[in-house]
Amino acid sequence: MSGVVWSVSAALFLLGLAGVALRRQLLAMFLGLELMVLTAALALGCTASLSGRGEGFVAALLVLAVAAAEAVVGLVLILRVRSSGRPAETQSLRELKG
């Protein structure tokens, strides 16, 4: 069972990473980001329940809560980018460089 859990979480983590790194739209990257955090929560929760230690559950739960908070901030920022007239893509965020 833990083999399945770990392989799923590894796959999902890598997909999340790919999503963040490859996609151009900010929202798609954001989805990738959320996916990575969910995967971590998954790994924590499943390992906890398989190994019988309660600490993992608390961690998983709190991670979900933190992910939710992060989501709020992320979406607000992305919408601000959109409301300032620029398309919500990485190309529009190129001014700071050097």
């Binding site: 859990v5 990738g32 959320e34 499943c46 019988g52 739960l61 709020v72 979406l75 919408l79 300032s84």
Partner: protein, 162 residues
Amino acid sequence: MIPWFAVFAGSAAVAFAALMITRRSLYSAAVCFLAVIFQLAALFYAVGARMLAFLLLLIYAGAVAVLIVVSINAAQEGSEERRRWNQPAFSRGLIAAGFLPPLLEAVVLLARGGTAPAQAAPIGDLALGLALFGPYAAAAEAVALLMLFAALAVVGKPEASR
């Protein structure tokens, strides 16, 4: 013996995740994201962490995913993406595919009388609650504060756009 239920849920999650990052349109990505959440909840359930499965669905599917869909909608007005959403053929199929696996799982669970196929002993939900407000109170408090400050993101207009 192979935990078929967990394997099915896991592979579905991976499939939808892959689909999510490859879809060009954001709406379909959001739908796939929802599907992934369901499968993760199923996986939690398979492993015996019923409370987590339930909380995941409650927090994520309920709040965050909706927020994401609304944001995608807000971020796309006037673009050609919105027009494509109206063509039923394409996205409706996706929605159907998205919700088929949870339906099947629900049927299996009901058939098995609500217990997870794997025989892992579920951790008491009471223990989780006690831990949250016992030794881990500081962490819970901190997360609450974090939620508060995250909410401040919405308050007030940034100087730049004024």
